[in-house]
Amino acid sequence: TNDPAGSREQILGMLSDWVNYYLQPSHNDKALLGYLTQPVFQNILKEEESSIRFYRICLEVTIDSCVPVEGTNGKTLSYGALDAFTKLAVLLVKFAENNNIKTGILVKILNIAIKTLARDHDSKGAAKFDQRPYYRIFSNLITELSLHDPTINENTMLQFLTAFSNALIVTSPLKIPGFAFAWLQLVSDRIFMPKLLHTKSQKMWPYFQRLIVELLKFLEPFLRNAELNEPIRLLYRGTLRVLLILLHDFPEFLCNFHFSFCDVIPASCIQMRNLILSAFPRNMRLPDPFTPNLKVDLLPEINHPPRIMSNYANALNAVPGFKQDLENYLRTRQPLSFLPELRNRLLLPGGAVVNGTRYNVPLINSLVLFVGTMAVARVQSMGSFRIAPNATDIFQQLAVELDTEGRYLFLNAIANQLRYPNSDTHYFSCILLFLFQEAQSEAVQEQITRVLLERIIVNRPHPWGLLITFIELIKNQRFNFWSHSFTRCAPEIERLFDSVARSCM
């Protein structure tokens, strides 16, 4: 409404001429570019305010022009005008005189598209909002500007990819749920996703990790309660497909960020978590976990720490004083009060219940990995497993002191480190078996077994570290596994153990 008088009409006239020119099949990019050099375009686009008004009005009008094509009962929309507008945007971005201007135009257009999307989503509501025109805009821009083009240098391409990533972070399902399906399709676009994950020095990996975390956070409450109605089931299967592509084509990405993803996958999503933990670097040959008498501690890979790009100490820093006390204890085994108080510090403040639990799950995950990483470093520097008693104190204390719920979360945090052959997998495998062996009560041993077993009985894939730990547990006489009554507590459990033991043997 505050547009200057006549400006809207002028812009609509320019847009109409442009669309007609664009739709002539003989007008290729070169001719289209020539058309945009007309003074009328140059004048309106060189001013900040008038250019924003131009893009906004063009976007609104071309989005409204996406109406169902006759005879397709709403299945197909006509995108002619919208494609014309995005082509105009692409040409302006591509042929702007320098990289900053290129990126500036792209960011401006994306911002306007995002604002229009959010306003449309909130005003039209579930019944009338249509995600497809916005999908088309982002898809056209991403496809045309992510494609290899020697006139776009690598640095500019990174700026484009950053702009697209930020736009998708801002329009994630947590913010605009009615755009969720289009959003996941854009994130996993066959040109965009590899562009982000193929970048040299993995510069764009943190952005893609953020996008996957946004998706998993959105799904978390629905998956935790196993409320898989139609839309959630579709999103869940779609997420599995995307994760499978990452597992197959970009396993190192899943390896490096496993901690971030496990932090937001509910404990009940065992297969999805296994999928992520099953990733291993492409240049690694995994020894068959079922090899009889496989000597894991002789594998060279177990001396190398895994690459972890997640900031796994974040949750420790979020609790005032916790990290300092923990580091102090690991260094000096002081103060003695640290251990007995530890259990209560893992509870959410004020008895809150979040995501169905009283415990601060990210803090438990962070504590386990942090203590384990410090212990591995110490073991490697001193040459023996026994040389990290402070760490084992903490793990033993938690195994004994935590209640069933807390211990389940704690044991899960350990099991989340059982992955491909590396020093963490080896350490946490030993720790889990050590806790089994040293347990004072059979309840702890049963729970350790349960945490492993529930990860093994789900459909594939299974992480290598999980398999070798479970096989060791049931085969090595030292653990006297089969003597425990819980292996025979019910006929179906006995059958289950037999079948798993047979498949493992």
Binding site: Y135, N140, G178, L235
Partner: protein, 150 residues
């Protein structure tokens, strides 16, 4: 942000999210919602016994090795903007043709250039004259400036 810091939704929010999700199923993007719009001439209606879609082999780079240069030039100049033009250009480059951006013409060395500097080379070339004769012609004493080399 629908989710508070822990990703927890209130019951009301969860309902609102679910209704938005269910509503958005109606407009789930289909393959044609991302089909690239390439301004193509309308396909000429041919009898059904003619192939109605281009054979996949025309996307196979090996096929272009078998075409003679005349065919490659035809594809390059008469199928602009297509993947086939891209493949034809790649094959011409493999056969030591070089594209001159100013003359929009393909050149090939007829013999070793008499002079080569950082900015250009000079000598006798063969070029494909697509405008007047649709044939290859020889050009002596030609200077190919590298700034015009695509």
């Amino acid at each position: 942000d629908f989710a508070t810091s822990h990703g927890k939704f209130s019951a009301h929010e969860q309902d609102s999210i679910m209704s938005m999700l269910e509503g958005s199923l109606k407009s789930l993007p289909e393959p044609n919602d991302s089909e690239r719009h390439r301004p193509k001439p309308k396909p000429y209606l041919t009898p059904s016994y003619y192939p109605q879609v281009a054979a996949g082999i025309f996307e196979n780079p090996q096929l272009f090795e078998k075409f003679d240069t005349d065919t490659l030039f035809f594809i390059f100049y008469f199928q602009q903007g297509t993947y086939q033009q891209y493949l034809a250009a790649k094959e011409l480059k493999k056969q030591s043709w070089r594209y001159h951006k100013k003359y929009l013409t393909w050149f090939q060395r007829h013999e070793e250039p008499k002079e080569i500097s950082n900015d250009s080379e000079q000598g006798t070339y063969v070029y494909f004259d697509y405008e007047t004769g649709w044939c290859q012609r020889k050009k002596t004493e030609f200077t190919f400036e590298y700034r015009f080399l695509e």
